[in-house]
């Protein structure tokens, strides 16, 4: 078991290194002059020279990459002209926009993104597994068919359509909910939840549709297996068979997929955050791309990569724990 984690951790570090090389190559080495971007629109040649010096752009590419890695693991010192500013590890540099440390910027915005993704996952699991379960209990009936069609529609509706529709309905027309604005959980839990409700529901609807279909199909698969016939032949009630044996068969894939999806959510909330004006990482990524704020873009992409990799390891482990026949190797 510990050997398994060691191997997976090593693998994860390797994957992240590869991501870092690729990301670095795309953003820093590709045509275009980072110094000009960092310097801003009004910039004389002398300033440009200083910036280039400060960012170390005169060094060979591999040295630059080495410094980039160094920054992540041990931190980095920047000369500000008058003195030096230390950027603690993990340091992804300074934002071109406001010279703030990228790590700080991300740390500021992570709570909103986490609020969104955790809430969404909880909601879509409840909705998705619930709907899937209902469809299985009522299999062959009209309700099942309706649920399948609804979930198909849910899967096919983009977030910006369902989000806008929900916002118009509940905020503008019915006025049941406030137009979402982020209130930190630590400030006012009630307002936090109230404001997050719409973003949660919007994004959860999409996930719930997928999870409902998956829950239903893997439960139906289990119900067709021989061991279910065994329990039927021993007078175990249909309710117990569905609740105990069929649902159990669906747990492993659901758990594994949830973990992996949670990882993707960290980076996949751009649309929702932008639409609802949530100050999260996704929104920041969109803005940074628009303003070509390279250090921020690189850092967020690395964060998303790390989240996906870690989530997948957790997912695989949970899968193996849920299904003991799978050996961790």
């Amino acid at each position: 078991m510990s050997l398994y984690f060691l191997r997976r951790a090593l693998g994860a570090v390797l994957v992240l290194l590869v991501i870092s090389v690729v990301v670095y190559a795309i953003f820093y080495v590709a045509p275009g002059d980072p110094a000009k971007l960092a310097c801003g629109p009004r910039c004389n040649p002398e300033q440009l020279r200083q910036v280039r010096e400060q960012l170390g752009l005169n060094d060979p590419v591999y040295v630059q990459y080495w410094h980039f890695l160094q920054g992540i693991f041990v931190g980095h010192d920047y000369s500000t002209g008058t003195g030096t500013m230390h950027c603690d590890a993990p340091c992804f540099g300074l934002s071109y926009q406001n010279n703030q440390q990228v790590t700080d910027l991300i740390a500021e915005r992570l709570p909103a993104t986490l609020s969104l993704s955790v809430g969404v996952v909880v909601l879509w699991l409840l909705l998705g597994v619930g709907i899937g379960l209902l469809a299985v209990v009522r299999r062959g009936g009209l309700l099942e068919r309706a649920l399948i069609w609804l979930s198909l529609a849910g899967t096919a509706t983009p977030v910006f359509v369902s989000g806008l529709a929900l916002m118009m309905l509940f905020c503008a027309y019915l006025e049941w909910l406030p137009f979402p604005s982020y209130v930190p959980l630590t400030d006012d839990p009630e307002q936090w939840a109230w404001n997050m409700l719409l973003p949660w529901v919007t994004l959860a609807l999409l996930g719930a549709s997928i999870y409902a279909r998956m829950t239903r199909s893997s439960m139906l698969e289990t119900l067709a297996e021989d061991h279910v016939r065994t329990f039927r032949a021993y007078g175990v009630s249909e309710r117990a068979i569905i609740g105990k044996h069929a649902l159990r068969g669906a747990v492993a894939p659901i758990v594994a997929m949830t973990a992996a999806d949670f990882g993707s959510l960290i980076g996949g909330t751009m649309l929702t955050e932008t639409m609802f004006g949530l100050p999260g990482v996704g929104q920041m990524l969109v803005r940074s791309v628009q303003t070509v704020d390279l250090p921020v873009v690189v850092a967020v992409v690395m964060l998303i990569g790390a989240a996906v990799v870690v989530a997948n390891i957790i997912g695989d482990t949970l899968y193996a724990l849920a299904d003991r026949r799978v050996a961790l190797r």
């Binding site: 021989d226 061991h227 032949a233 021993y234 007078g235 117990a240 044996h245 068969g249 299904d323």
Partner: protein, 540 residues
């Protein structure tokens, strides 16, 4: 007269299929007295399992149409409501399923599964009491260290232990009737003998009735009082085991009996002239052949230092229980698998270490027939194409000649030459195995390794395929290596016999000598475990 435990009257079961309605059971009636034991025997498709499922009302909501009457211990199974039916299932009549791996929930501990079933029928039992009961019945069926093993999941049990666990589940609620559907089909002979003993003991102890569904007359002969022979959903004959085996009234029963391979009789008509065979050319010779899988601590030696010679035109039988390495050996002999040690000579040339390219000239002379004729034929190619493949690869014949040869081969193995363009799914299991044999024959081999060629087939089909192999050998002078776990089948075809255990050969010799005077205790045990029709016949 006491009320019968089971009373089936004019039962008919019809399944809707894509090709119209199929009548699986057609007007069957029988009774079973309390404590009695009846075997339903017949070939696959005779409807015997359908009857067994019907006794528990398992055809409900499957789309099957059931008419007639089924009464189990006074409960009208067809008319019962859900609650009554659930009471009957497990509480009155309990079923032991075939394939014990897939019949248990892979996610739950075996003890918990048994406890769950127990609590369905003993609602007053606490969780703890149910768990204790599970341990008790597991112990009763001979699971060692039952208290600890009750917490194991099915994949941690061996095949025999899983079958025991299923029987334990059946016992958990003290039913009056045990329905066992092919309970030993997937098991080795020695394990089969233990399971049959267990069933016998349990009957004697609890006085419950037994309905045994099996295609194996030997298994039936050993375990029940009465036989009901079924064919195409109808009863052919019913009577006490001994009387029926001694003097079957119906032709079908007689044919079925005649087809059963006897361990102490060599089948008449299978190549007799081999005794006079003077050709002593050694075709294939293995010396110290070894095959290891995996590396380091996990390494398993599947075949360990096996030496074996196969002479031209003879049949060498290889028997052993599952895991004894017989399939690995067979695959190495035709070089589908590379040995990790030892020497393999074909007609004097070392082929053990040859590369794929180096083996090419030998490929057509060494052929293999596989166990599962379904999965070893490409479902998307016509059987003619499948048989033609090795000929095309050899590249010696033109298209027209190949087609002509394939037609010859189809005729040779007893199939219609016009079947060239038909697909595997259109054939029965026995016919598919004939296709597999035709494919092996196509490149005119000198040696064919047959890996369990008949173990998936009914006795009558089995006999036909075995006879075909014998004829082919006589006519074409083929050498055969015949691998099987069924000792009786092997006896019918083999000149010499090799008994394997744990990757090694424990006994080797002329087939008759090994069967009649086995030297090694393991061989003696194997032979003793085979259920025999003759014991029942002799006792009659």
């Amino acid at each position: 007269m006491t009320e019968p435990l089971v009373k089936v009257t004019d039962l008919a079961v019809t399944f809707p299929t894509d090709d119209g309605r199929v009548r699986a059971v057609d007007g069957l009636s029988f009774e079973l007295a309390p404590g009695g034991a009846l075997a339903l025997v017949g070939e696959s498709g005779s409807g015997k399992s359908t009857v067994a499922f019907g006794l528990l009302g398992l055809h409900r909501s499957t789309g099957a149409e059931v008419t007639g009457g089924i009464e189990v211990a006074g409960h009208d199974v067809l008319a019962a409501d859900e609650a009554e039916l659930r009471q009957v299932r497990g509480g009155v009549a309990a079923m032991v399923f075939q394939d014990p791996l897939s019949s248990l929930d892979p996610y739950q501990a075996i003890g918990d599964q048994i406890a769950e079933v127990h609590r369905v029928h003993r609602r007053d039992a606490s969780r703890r009491a149910a768990r204790d009961r599970a341990v008790e019945v597991l112990d009763r069926v001979g699971i060692p260290d039952a208290a600890r093993r009750a917490r194991s999941r099915p994949h941690e049990f061996s095949g025999g232990m899983r079958q025991r666990a299923l029987i334990a589940m059946a016992l958990a609620c003290e039913p009056r009737l045990l329905i066992a559907d092919e309970p030993t089909t997937a098991l080795d002979v020695t394990v089969q003998a233990q399971i049959l003993d267990l069933l016998r003991d349990l009957r004697a102890e609890t006085g419950m009735g037994l309905i045994l569904v099996t295609h194996d007359l030997g298994v039936a002969a050993d375990s029940v009082d009465d036989l009901l022979v079924m064919k195409n959903g109808r009863a052919v004959e019913r009577g006490p085991v001994r009387a029926l085996l001694d003097s079957p009234a119906e032709t079908y029963t007689r044919d079925l009996l005649a087809a059963v391979p006897r361990i102490n009789v060599r089948r008449p008509g299978v190549p007799e002239q081999r005794a006079e065979r003077t050709d002593d050319t050694v075709l294939l010779e293995a010396k110290g052949l070894t095959r290891r899988f995996g590396r380091g601590k996990r390494a398993v030696t599947a075949v360990d230092d096996v030496s074996l010679t196969v002479r031209a035109g003879e049949t060498v039988g290889v028997v052993g229980e599952s895991g004894s390495g017989k399939t690995t050996l067979g695959r190495m002999l035709v070089r589908l698998l590379e040995p990790t040690g030892g020497e393999l000579r074909y007609e004097g040339r070392d082929i053990g270490g040859l590369s794929d390219r180096g083996l090419r000239p030998f490929r057509s002379e060494l052929q293999m027939v596989f166990q599962d004729p379904v999965s070893s034929l490409n479902p998307r190619r016509s059987i003619g194409e499948s048989i033609a493949d090795p000929l095309r690869v050899a590249g010696r014949l033109g298209d027209a000649e190949i087609t002509a040869r394939v037609r010859d081969l189809l005729e040779r193995v007893g199939l219609d030459p016009g079947a060239y363009h038909r697909y595997p799914h259109e054939f029965s299991g026995g016919q598919r195995q004939r296709v597999g044999i035709a494919r092996a024959l196509a490149p005119e081999p000198k040696l064919i390794v047959c890996d369990e060629p008949v173990s998936a087939l009914d006795v009558t089909t089995q006999a036909q395929v075995v006879r075909l192999l014998g004829e082919l050998q006589r006519d074409l002078g083929l050498a055969l290596v015949f691998i099987a776990h069924d000792l009786a089948v092997v006896r019918q075809v083999s000149d010499r016999l090799v008994v394997m255990r744990g990757g090694r050969i424990v006994e080797e010799g002329p087939a008759d000598a090994v069967y009649e005077k086995p030297q090694h205790p393991y061989t003696q045990g194997l032979l003793a475990a085979v259920p025999r029709l003759e014991q029942a016949e002799a006792a009659a």
